[in-house]
Amino acid sequence: MKPGYKFLRNILFGLLVTGTVVFISLFAAGYVKLSAQNTEACFACHEDPDLTADRNGKKVSMYVNPAAYKKSVHSMAECVDCHTGYNPDELPHSKTPVKVDCKSCHQESLKGIEAGVHKQVNCYDCHTKHDVAPGKEIRVNQTQNCQKCHNTKGIQQYKTSIHAKKNVGCEGCHLGGHSSKKISKNEVAATCGKCHGSHEKNFNNSVHQTVLQSGNQNAPTCTDCHGSHQILTSKMTIESQSCLKCHLDEKLFPGEGRGSAKFVADYKTSVHASIEKGGKEAAGCSDCHGDHMIQDPNNPQASTIRAKMLETCGKCHQQEVEHFKKSQHGTELMKGNFKAPTCASCHGEHNIKSVVSSKEFTKLNQVELCLSCHVDQKLPHKNYKGEEVLISNYKDSYHYRALQEGKLNAATCSDCHGAHEMKKFDDPEAQIYKKNIAKTCGQSDCHTKQLGDYNGSIHEQSLLDKNNPDAPTCNTCHGNHQILKKDESESRIASSKGLVQLCSDCHNSVEMTEKYDLPTGRTESYLESFHGLAVRGGSKVAANCESCHGNHNIRPSTDSLSTISKKNLPETCGKCHPGAVTAFFNTPIHIVKPEEENPWMYWVTNFYIFMIIAVIGGMVLHNVVDFSKKFKKKK
């Protein structure tokens, strides 16, 4: 190596070291000098609140609050650390404004935000410019911060929401901070579920979620019903509108069948919708269909399927459902009889009407409703004897005809059978149980007078007190469904002949008279009497059973209230035979054993029988003898 080259290398090294030292010294000296000088220098002008600058023809405030700046986390930084590229000596400091780039220092923390929704947002939009607050502080007022930008009407309503009251801010759902995000429809449930876990779980089992996850974005999630920002109380106040928003849309739910928009539209005419309770519908969609875990109506878990309907309706209509459960309809339903009706079978589904004020439940329409199942043959009906009986012949009854004539107090099906409490005739609680029939027919506004008469009658007493199942009550004589007026010719009790036959059904039956020790020979003795003779001949005025014994108030002659008690006989007979006196009645009316009851009559009858036989015999003998003798003589 040449000695000159070594020297040069030493010189160069010396220069480099010296240069470095000088550069560092200069840089250090210059930095201290610049910062001290610049921040103060900057505030010399920028602490003036009136300082403005012209930006694209607009006056922009150039004021920086020094106090706020000094409090901020950036107080140790110089203005020029952020505002690079400015020449403080020139005015304006720069020909083109230079954006503050926070990344130069905050590279790490900005990684998150660059992937998020706020990547286009300037840091200072949230953190502010000179009084930059740390994340901790921002988080405290995050919601207000968000609303500075997110100030659409919808989001502004957040202020009145339940979340605002409960201090659940934007970050509660949208995470906040640099990881703030949009919530897609599919994520909504999970988001809400962070707090409302049980509801999310229910919702996840609902038909809405199933449809949503199948890719149909029309299916609702939490926010579709509850709203997104303006969520009010936990109970939906707008539920019908919420549900109907979609379910009335014929494009979404076409057709006419179940589930269609038209089918749902009936709800609006229902009593549930038309009556308000506390400012809302008496019963909204969710009251019947459930809320979060709403199911397809065919799903066995749906609250509106037959098996669950009682429970569902019973939430409000407790008493009715309790009655119904005990009814024949209810027991059949619970046994699983698919023919048995449930609430909707009679009341309808969406178009449920008031039974009091709607046409659907007028007494006449009720007949059609019941007969739609109980028509002959379709649903055989058996009476207590096990005979199939007609029900549709109710339409021939006076009850039905009176209804048609507008007499609305006439009985329809439910008046006798009960509506929800309808039970079979053999159920002791049934309104049509034999022992209850009189009470049913005699209920207030109906046949009260007749019930009053019947009470205490021998028929009533033997039925109720002696538990005699054959004793007659109202329907024994008047019939069941086809009840006619007394003066209608087809009625069994219209004619005396029919009435006598009716009473004779029991009182002339060997079986009955033996079983219950009834007095015998009533019918025969009556039919042989003058009254009976006249009635058999078609007389309409001659006395029949009822004329003397009464009808509803039949009592034994030993009862002082009886029409045939000795005391009352003059009055009873006097109806036809004015002036009848007690002395008249010293022998029984029905002569069954004349030798005891009227011996005179007995002997007179026998005398005549003897006489008739004797005369016939004598005359025949005489004539034969006389004839043969004269005949011979004539020859």
Binding site: A580, F584, T587, I589, I591, Y608, I612, I616, M619, N623
Partner: protein
């Protein structure tokens, strides 16, 4: 037969008319009455149908009952106040000799006795028939009136046991009258071999001298004297 047979007037016109009225009303009463008694039989039902139903039957029965009552009243006056009637009733009275002839008469009828007991204007059989009708009508009228008035309410003073008897009597007496009239009287005046087809005396009122002599010898004697004895035996 002799064309100019001698005859005697036995019944005058009044009596013949009374008889016609009597038998017409009795027949009608029997038809209408028995059809009710035997209402249960087909014949009874048919008869009531013909009589205009039960009500028509009743009206018809009542009508002829009043005719009969009127006749009875007239007859009562007739036998009391008219000479002919008064005479007739004295002939119809039962006398001791009538009963004495009762047994021989029966014997004769049975062929045990060849001598027919003589009789007056009315033989015992006819007397029985007359008084039978009188008694029968009396019973029927009394009981019938009770039954009729019962419906009208006036007879409520009659006790029920009597009513019951009344009913029994009225219907049985009716049957009895029917039997007596048809077996006895109709036989006597229509069916009896000598008389068949009919004894015309109820129409003409005349009885031939010969018949008067054979049937009512005592009356014959009274009219023609005893000198003419015509007994062929």
């Amino acid at each position: 037969m002799k064309t100019q047979e001698e005859y005697v007037i036995r019944f005058n016109l009044s009596e013949r008319i009374q008889h016609v009225i009597l038998f017409v009303s009795l027949i009608m009463l029997l038809i209408t009455g028995l059809s009710l008694t035997y209402y249960d039989s087909w014949l009874g039902r048919m008869m009531i149908e013909i009589e205009g139903g039960l009500q028509g039957r009743g009206r018809l029965h009542n009508l002829f009952a009043f005719i009969l009552i009127a006749l009875c009243v007239y007859h009562a006056f007739y036998i009391t106040f008219s000479d002919k009637g008064h005479k007739e009733i004295s002939h119809l009275k039962f006398r001791k000799k009538d009963f004495k002839k009762l047994i021989p008469g029966l014997k004769f009828s049975m062929g045990l006795n060849t001598n027919k007991p003589s009789s007056g204007r009315y033989n015992i059989s006819q007397k029985f028939q007359y008084w039978g009708v009188v008694l029968g009508c009396a019973v029927m009228i009394v009981t019938g009136l009770i039954l009729l008035l019962k419906v009208w309410g006036i007879a409520m003073i009659v006790p029920k046991w009597l009513w019951d008897i009344t009913g029994v009597v009225h219907s049985n007496e009716g049957i009895l009258i029917f039997i007596v009239l048809f077996l006895w009287h109709i036989y006597d005046v229509h069916l009896s071999p000598k008389i068949f087809p009919m004894n015309k005396v109820w129409l003409t009122g005349k009885i031939s001298k010969q018949e008067l002599q054979s049937e009512h010898p005592e009356e014959y004697e009274e009219i023609y004297g005893k000198e003419f004895v015509s007994d062929k035996q």
